[in-house]
């Protein structure tokens, strides 16, 4: 029996009444049930905490019993002189992280997929995957040592090759902050992020390669006409989800890389909230800014999702 070949002959039957009914779908319901319960309890259960952004925290009245203050904490952030700078800095870092960081794992996956010889392939794949496990603290310490303007190996190399000005301090120059941040992030997570694409590439039907070859396609064309289309759904889905991170810049790395010389570009929303809210125990301010941040991210996600749905009929929801 060849179910797939057989299946091709049968057109999907949209109107088959009983299949749409509850009776046929109870199995599907059972299959989503654990997930639904988990999400309901662990994600929606504590969701009432969002109120905190609109209330003053008053312990004696319970977690969300404080006075309703409406948008006070949002106003506090919007009217702060740091609103635009932090918004801009966050956006710039996140934007370049997506624009430069998103395609790299795809390219890497295509390259890995093209390597002949299992051992070489695995060696490269395993190596590029490893940096993902380095903690942020150590990553920043590595940057400190390798980019040091006096003794740093990478600094020396770049200067010998005339790729950067001789008197620049890569750790302090405001112009260098975003590149260093983004490139080190790509270095750290490119291999990890490529895994999903490598897996998707493994599902390419080998017959398609042969068919393309018979049509006289060269290797570049195979990438373009066979491999990319095969992983396109994965690419689009991940891109949509990445768009939902347009205002997400991790606190820890930024905080550790921040210094007096680069603060004009490195003060982002999360570090600012830390300076204002956490240091002074202000739950509500932190919640409000966090909520604003999330709303923007969510908005971008919805936009990207709608766009993708229209253009490619692929979407998250």
């Amino acid at each position: 029996m060849k179910p797939a070949l057989l299946a091709r002959k049968i057109q999907p039957a949209p109107g088959k009444g009983f299949l749409n009914g509850w009776a046929a779908n109870y199995q599907l319901w059972l299959m989503v049930l654990p997930a639904v319960i988990y999400i309901a309890v662990f994600c929606y259960g504590p969701m009432y905490g969002i109120q905190l952004a609109f209330r003053d925290f008053d312990f004696s009245k319970g977690l969300t019993g404080g006075d309703w203050v409406g948008l006070k904490y949002f106003d506090q952030y919007f009217n702060s002189p740091m609103f635009w700078p932090t918004l801009r800095n966050t956006f710039v870092i996140a934007f370049f992280s997506i624009v430069l960081g998103f395609p790299m794992p795809i390219l890497l996956a295509l390259v890995v997929n093209s390597i002949r010889g299992h051992r070489r392939k695995r060696l490269l794949q395993t190596t590029v995957y490893m940096p993902y496990f380095i903690s942020t603290v150590v990553l920043v310490a590595l940057l400190q040592i390798l980019l040091s303007p006096t003794t740093g190996l990478i600094n020396d190399l770049l200067k010998t090759l005339d790729l950067i000005p001789a008197d620049i301090n890569l750790l302090g120059s405001p112009g260098a902050f975003v590149p260093v941040y983004v490139i080190s992030a790509i270095w750290q997570s490119c291999g990890w992020n490529s895994i999903i694409f490598i897996a998707a590439l493994s599902s390419v039907d080998t017959q398609q390669y042969d068919a393309a070859r018979i049509d006289g396609a060269n290797r570049w064309k195979i990438v373009w006409h066979v491999e990319i289309p095969a992983i396109l759904p994965t690419i689009i889905i991940l891109l949509i989800m990445n768009m939902g991170g347009v205002l997400s810049v991790g606190f820890e790395k930024t905080f550790l890389m921040q210094n007096s010389l680069n603060k004009s570009v490195s003060e982002v929303i999360s570090t600012y909230v830390f300076n204002v809210g956490v240091k002074s125990n202000q739950f509500s301010f932190g919640s409000a800014v966090g909520l604003f941040n999330t709303l923007v991210n969510f908005l971008f996600l919805i936009l990207a999702n709608t766009f993708a749905k229209k253009k490619s009929n692929i979407s998250l929801m």
């Binding site: 008053d58 312990f59 004696s60 920043v140 400190q144 007096s260 204002v276 809210g277 739950f283």
Partner: protein, 543 residues
Amino acid sequence: MRVRGILTALLTGCIVIASLAGCSNTNRSETSDPGTNTATKKTKLTAIFVKHSLTKDVNEMKWLTDLEEKANVEIEWQQISADWDQKKSALFASGEIPDLLFNATKNSDFVQFNGLFEDLSPLIDKSGTNIQKMFSEHPELKALATQLDGKIYGTPKYKGIWPSSTASMFINKTWLDNLGLQVPTTWDELENVLIAFRDGDPNKNGDNTDEVPMDFNPMGWDFTPKLLLGSLGLPLSNGVTDGYFTEDAQVKDFYVDDRFKTLMQFLQKLYSENLINKEVVTQDYSKYQSLARGSGTTAKVGFTWGWETSDRVGNELKDQYVTMPQLKQHADSTEELYWSNDNYYQNYGDNAISLSAKSKNKDAAMRFIDAFYEPTVSMQVLFGGMNDTDKGIKDNGDGTYQVLPPADSSLDPGSWKWTSTFADNGPMYIADDLKSKLTLGTDMQSVLKEKSVYDDLLKKADPQTNVYPQVFMKYSMEDTNAMAMNQANINNITDQKWAQWMTTNVDIDSEWNEYVTSIETSGLAQNLEIRQKAYQEYLSTVK
């Protein structure tokens, strides 16, 4: 290598045995709980202790078990050595906290979690004899512990034997001698010395480019050239962050003070002459420390700031450095000289112990709290137990005591103290009459000796007008929030400006007025007002 290996093996063995002993102890107490409980009527209490990450399991401290015995309580300890701030808000907000909280609370918690903590004043009045004595001998400690609402939610701590200055200036005397130079006494002489360090080969390794004439921490921290503001008559104190200080009973911010401009112009000049480490702004603390350690006996840094020489430059180099007294700006300058007076910062602390309002055994808890404040107990809290197990302090038998050298010879005295006892994180009252009876360890003696060059200047700072008592300040929640908001905005300007000014050749004079205005409009006026109000409040309580 081999010796160290053996030592490690021994140490590992000790730790294994100790932890086994610890385990069996806890097991025993758990299994035989009801029995002992009824027999001795010990009160069971729970406690959380936010300890230093070096500190060993507190159940292994004999002085503490003895103290529990004496107070007739049995404590179940929960020990936190990292990330308490993150854990805290969830724990406090849940409303379920242990009976006793050691080193775990801040003034802002009492406002934020109103009703969670017990007001200790009635309990102190009733049975806290040691604390009463402490309050009568040092009334300012009562002021320190009393919140805006007049209640005491946390007991204070007082050491009294620590130096009154956090930072010292160190200069490499060997380098000076090699170049035939004197220890500088003015900014001008300092500049010349640094130039000589830059051009010569004072460490005599044949390479005249590897010397870093001057190195320090970023401006807001403890070990920075901000201390040179004292040359210009600006009295810093208590390591107060964000530039605040008091002068003639007025709270001010040095970042907008003309004297800070003078200092920045000086630093800009030094930096442009290549006298300051190029990485001074961007290096982390590890690099800062490593650089000054040089290699072997070859020093790399000529002039720097730190707590103590062996801490700053390592044991191999420490003899090359001397503590440098405060500099005058010019030979003919007449400004009063100051050195940052950090007496309150080093010797006073708040909220050593708090008590849960829900605790069922408040009297027993108070008994235990008060027991810590008996001076000879406090002394053990700080330096280790006075018994054959802990080996922290020796009782000379004639009313005098001696801090013993580390029983574990692989540790230095400082680390030993932090490992073997509560150390500075504990509740303590080292009464003044104990000072002359207690011989300190070599580490503290060396610190005090090194810092003695600043003694005269430190005495000059009038505590009524020129010492900012940060630890005494109390703010309402509203004020705390407003200040945090403003400060984040202010810091965003000040953090960047000093670094930019120093590392570039911009004309500071021409940017100064605009800079000052931008800081003032970012909320400095309001912060100064809030701080002044709190300071005035404080002055009225001490007078």
